[in-house]
């Protein structure tokens, strides 16, 4: 028998689910299906190729380059932004004069549009008159174009991500540091424990769940944040800063190879799913569901 409560519940859910299914679940399934076909061209309809698109990836140098780059980019941005975020939190978690300004300085990049941030940094990097180049010239070094050289472009892009993210992650560490009990600190002081030992043996283990949570976010962002690539490097020079999501965009909307773009999207979904599953099994949920 269908209860009245059920009808109400389904009716309340219906509008949200219409949008959710139309723009998230169906497209995800459709992406998977289309990735098994060829891209229809003119009169030639899409043909089933099985794993053909996935095989093509293995011999696609741009894809392999994008994967390696995404890996380096993820590693660099995750490590640097987490270490910096923790350092920032430790520096500003006590209150003293000027601490508000410091926190503001760290957090402000978080609210700026990534595309605007990219413009600011491009100017910062600009060869000849950008601040970094001015400093180089001041010290007698040759002018350099960080965003335009193959060996530095990826790191120039990564630096922007780190700048934008560290302050965001800082607020989670700040919240975590507030939960370290003052009694532990007192006990440690009586034991004559050094500041470093206290940090390593007490603070660090206590904020471990936060570190894990921040890491998961950092991994996801490493694959999602590509806006600045559009302004700064366009994946170049010579694919030196090509990232997976940017390559999906190029394949899908510059070359209109939608089937191959679908297969690339499946790789991205697989990575994100692996991160999500990893978090599910690793995370101590009690800490976050207060």
């Amino acid at each position: 028998m269908v209860k009245r409560e059920w009808i109400y519940a389904w009716a309340l859910l219906l509008p949200a689910f219409v949008f959710l299914i139309t723009f998230t679940h169906l497209p995800a399934v459709q992406t998977l299906i289309n990735s098994l076909y060829t891209t229809p061209k003119g009169r030639r309809a899409a043909m089933f190729t099985g794993l053909g698109n996935y095989q093509q990836m293995l011999s696609d140098p741009v894809f392999l380059k994008a994967m390696v780059n995404s890996g380096i980019y993820a590693l660099v941005t995750i490590l640097a932004s987490i270490l910096l975020a923790l350092a920032m939190a430790l520096l500003v978690h006590r209150s003293f004069r000027g601490v508000g300004l410091m926190r503001m300085s760290f957090f402000t990049p978080t609210v700026l549009p990534l595309i605007a941030v990219a413009n600011i940094w491009l100017f910062f990097y600009a060869p000849g008159f950008g601040l970094i180049d001015q400093i180089r010239v001041f010290f007698g070094l040759a002018s350099a174009n960080y965003a335009g050289q193959p060996d530095t472009a990826l790191y120039a892009v990564a630096a922007v991500t780190i700048w934008k993210e560290a302050g965001f992650f800082m607020i989670f560490f700040l919240a975590a540091l507030q939960t370290v009990p003052e009694t532990l600190r007192e006990a440690a002081a009586i034991e004559g424990c050094s500041r470093w030992t206290f940090f390593r043996r007490v603070t660090l283990p206590l904020i471990m769940p936060t570190t894990l949570f921040v890491s998961v976010n950092a991994v996801i962002n490493a694959f999602r944040l590509v806006d600045h690539v559009f302004v700064m490097t366009k994946g170049g020079p010579d694919n030196a800063s090509m990232l997976l999501l940017y390559y999906i965009f190029e394949t899908g909307f510059r070359y209109w190879d939608t089937a191959y773009a679908g297969a690339l999207t499946m790789v991205l979904i697989a990575i994100l799913a692996a991160v999500g599953i990893g978090q599910f099994f690793l995370a101590d949920k009690r800490v976050h569901y207060r």
Binding site: L91, L112, A116, I248, T265
Partner: protein
């Protein structure tokens, strides 16, 4: 209490100040360039004259007024739709029991992982089929049902005492009446927090709007700015920096005025 020696304190604070200063440099550099004539864009001279000329130049060289309007319409539309759709769904998940509840909730949580932002190709095809390509509605549609908002509001609604709910029903309130009179008022702080995050996220969103729009009438600020900044028409850095600051200004001002709320909302949004 571990005693901080004076040296410790000085080291920590000067370290903090140095890092904070370093963090501020890129923004400060952009502000310098935007408020000075182009001749001083990379020359630091305290006597350099201040000017708003770069801002008016940017405003005239590209239809920023229209871009502002588009972005404003976009974020308002998305937030309104999200609040209505997600409040209804969150209420069902928090207070009603029905078959399929856990499967449906799992489907909601799935969106936290596979966001519409990465399903570009298929969503573009859907918009083309609906005849919506190059419309503000098309930029917003994929974000109307936000898994995150449903999750956040459900958590909030579950903390509201059931007695309030029952009392209202005894008074003769209908189900929607209870939602409107009890849950919505008590859920306001959560909605406000979500609102701040949603507005800043969609104000800053770039990739999907870039794909789905191709005219001045629909383009949001981020896309407009990227086009303005990459045209090789010899636009000076000073003007580009002015346009950049202009684009970020509303959020930046909001953040400076409501720092605490921003930080707390972003934190809530992060802790899913």
């Amino acid at each position: 209490m571990m005693q901080d020696t004076a040296l410790d304190r000085i080291l920590m604070r000067s370290g903090g100040a140095l890092l904070a200063l370093l963090w501020f440099v890129p923004l400060a550099y952009a502000i310098w360039a935007a408020f000075h004539p182009a001749a001083f864009e990379a020359r630091f001279d305290l006597t350099a004259p201040l000017t708003l000329g770069n801002f008016s130049a940017a405003w005239q060289q590209a239809p920023f007024a229209r871009y502002f309007l588009n972005t404003f319409l976009l974020v308002a539309m998305i937030l309104a739709a999200q609040l209505v759709l997600c409040t209804l769904a969150a209420f069902a998940f928090a207070r009603l029991s029905f078959p399929g509840k856990s499967i449906l909730f799992a489907l909601i949580l799935l969106q936290l992982l596979v966001m519409p932002d990465i399903l570009l190709v298929e969503n573009y095809k859907t918009m083309r089929a609906l005849g919506l390509v190059d419309s503000i509605l098309a930029i917003g549609l994929p974000y109307f049902a936000s898994g995150f908002a449903i999750f956040l509001l459900r958590q909030t609604f579950m903390t509201i005492p059931k007695e309030l709910d029952e009392a209202a029903r005894i008074e003769g309130c209908s189900l929607l009446g209870v939602l409107w009179r009890v849950y919505v008022p008590l859920g306001k702080p959560a909605m406000l927090a979500f609102g701040l995050v949603s507005v800043s996220h969609h104000w800053n969103n770039f990739l999907w709007p870039l794909i789905i729009t191709n005219s001045v009438e629909t383009r949001p600020l981020t896309v407009g700015l990227s086009i303005f900044a990459t045209t090789d028409s010899g636009t000076s850095w000073a003007v580009i920096n002015a346009a950049t600051l202009m684009t970020a200004a509303p959020l930046l001002l909001g953040f400076l005025l409501f720092q605490r709320q921003f930080v707390q909302s972003f934190m809530r949004a992060g802790i899913k």
